[in-house]
């Protein structure tokens, strides 16, 4: 009887996650872990060395202090150029991404071929490293801010269009239906029901990309595309670490300010 009872009880108490799903999750977990172990081996990871060497980092890090904040005036022109490049690039990318992200959202663009084509192009755009873009455009346009701006535009366009098309895909479709039902044209429908819904996200993504663009100019500086990056690189090469730290702190301040503006704008329009 007891035997019977237990059997019954067990039969009645199914596993929390079905065996098949469990196996699948375990398999994926093992693959990820396995690849990590392999990567650790290939990259010569060693916790001991890390702990041993940590002191070195401390010693080096100290050299960055005290940061020289008096350099603000000296670097201002380059910083201004960086900001200006980021402003232009972000603005243009934000404008261009509107049609692109609508075309790359499957709830607005119902034509499968068009949608897939735009997605494909955007994916390729996103794949190209910013450094390569900068190098190619410098080679094409010569040194100066323009190649940097164009590299930033393409770079941010990829990110923005992806993020925004995903937002568009998640909007409430009901108002669109209502507008269609009242005879509004497609453009009217988009303008009156899609735009208000994505506006807050749009702004915060644009500001996020603006921040990325400011930071990306560090890379751009290295290839002659202007901006604060050049100065930073030079300070490091000359061992003016406190100066480098000063620049980093100024970039940090800029990042925090942008983030603050972003929250404020979101609060204002949400």
């Amino acid at each position: 009887m007891t035997k019977d009872g237990t059997k019954k009880a067990l039969g009645k108490s199914p596993a929390v996650i079905p065996a098949k799903a469990k196996m699948r999750i375990t398999a994926i977990f093992l693959v990820v872990l396995g690849f990590y172990v392999l990567s650790s081996y290939k990259t010569e990871a060693s916790l001991m060395e890390f702990i041993d060497g940590f002191e070195n980092m401390g010693t080096l890090f100290q050299k960055f202090f005290p940061p020289n904040l008096g350099l603000f005036k000296a670097i201002w022109p380059a910083l201004a150029e960086t900001i200006q490049m980021a402003v232009i690039a972000t603005t243009i990318a934000a404008i261009l991404c509107v049609p692109l992200s609508l075309l790359a959202a499957n709830n607005v663009t119902t034509n499968k071929y068009l949608y897939n084509f735009v997605r494909f192009v955007l994916n390729i755009l996103r794949t190209i490293p910013d450094l390569v873009l900068a190098v190619i455009f410098v080679a094409l346009f010569g040194i100066g801010a323009l190649p940097g701006i164009i590299a930033l535009i393409i770079f941010s366009l990829g990110i923005l269009a992806k993020l925004i098309s995903e937002t568009v895909e998640s909007i409430d479709m009901n108002p669109l239906e209502a507008m269609h039902a009242s005879g509004a044209s497609t453009i009217q429908t988009i303008y009156f029901s899609v735009v208000p819904q994505v506006l807050p996200q749009f702004t915060s993504f644009v500001l996020y990309v603006f921040e990325i663009n400011i930071r990306a100019s560090v890379v751009l500086g290295l290839v002659g595309a202007g901006g604060i990056g050049q100065i930073l690189d030079q300070q490091i090469k000359f061992y003016k670490y406190p100066n480098a730290m000063g620049i980093i702190i100024i970039i940090f301040a800029l990042v925090v300010i942008i983030e603050y503006i972003s929250t404020k704008i979101r609060e204002a329009i949400v």
Binding site: D172, N174, M179, H180, S182, G183, Q188, F192, Q197
Partner: protein, 257 residues
């Protein structure tokens, strides 16, 4: 006048939404369609302004077969049919007035509307409509600041602004509590009577249907199983529409609604 002649609709996945529906809805009528979830009420109503396209038969609105309509014709058709939805379908983040003005989009050319340039007539009309549903003081509130009943009134105002010949309402009160539901139904009825707008409403509740309708159409599994004035509704009608008496159905817990 709206005429369904042997209208059938099969969804791409094979579900039959409508099965050989024949109906005539006359000018100025207030028709309520009742039926269980999945009976095809929405499909029927949405066929009329071609939000879905019946696959067979003929559907005439004002003596034109709208099943052949395309692009421009469709837009014109839709401007004369107003629609009210269960979830109000307002743009939550826009203010009430903008939402109501959206009802005029079909009558406005695209470019000016993009710059929010509506004519004084349009704006006056929109304001007038808001007043008719007694919600004018919320004109500049954002839609998501309103309660459900208020939102539905805004969506009625939007439809009024459209100056339609027909109003379709797809379960306009399903998300509202009973007093508010009655309020909304009362407004719909009032507009039907004052403006002589032919009105077709979907409802789950047969009791509410009987209170407001000139005529009740019962649907079940894509077919019209009852069609007649509210006064003719009997216990048997209930059975026809709901398959069996309500109580019994419920007690068979296992079944899905």
């Amino acid at each position: 006048m709206i005429e369904f002649k042997n209208v059938s609709l099969t969804y791409p996945n094979g579900t039959k939404g409508l099965k050989k529906v024949n109906l005539t809805i006359n000018e100025g009528e207030f028709v309520v369609i009742v039926g269980l979830s999945g009976a095809g009420k929405s499909t029927l109503i949405r066929s009329i302004n071609r939000l879905v396209k019946p696959t067979e038969g003929e559907l005439k609105v004002d003596n034109e077969n709208i099943l052949t309509f395309n692009g421009r014709q469709l837009r014109t058709l839709r401007t004369k049919i107003g629609m009210i939805f269960q979830n109000y379908n307002l743009v939550k983040r826009s203010n009430v007035f903008k939402n109501v003005l959206a009802g005029r989009l079909g009558h406005t050319s695209t470019l000016p509307s993009l710059f929010n340039m509506f004519s004084n007539e349009d704006r006056a009309l929109a304001y007038e409509s808001l007043k008719r549903v007694n919600i004018e003081e919320k004109i500049y509130n954002r839609a998501d600041e309103l309660s459900g009943g208020q939102q539905q009134r805004v969506s009625i105002a939007r439809v009024l602004t459209q100056k339609p010949k027909y109003i379709l309402a797809d379960e306009p009160v399903a998300s509202l509590d009973p007093p508010t539901s009655h309020q909304v139904m009362t407004y719909l009825r009032k507009i039907n009577q004052e403006d002589k707008i032919t009105t077709i409403v979907n409802l789950h509740f047969i009791d509410m249907a009987m209170e407001y309708a000139d005529r009740i159409i019962g649907m079940r599994a894509g077919e019209v199983v009852f069609d007649g004035p509210a006064s003719e509704v009997t216990e048997k009608t209930f059975e026809e529409i709901y398959g069996r008496t309500i109580r019994e159905d419920d007690l068979r817990g296992g079944q899905e609604a």
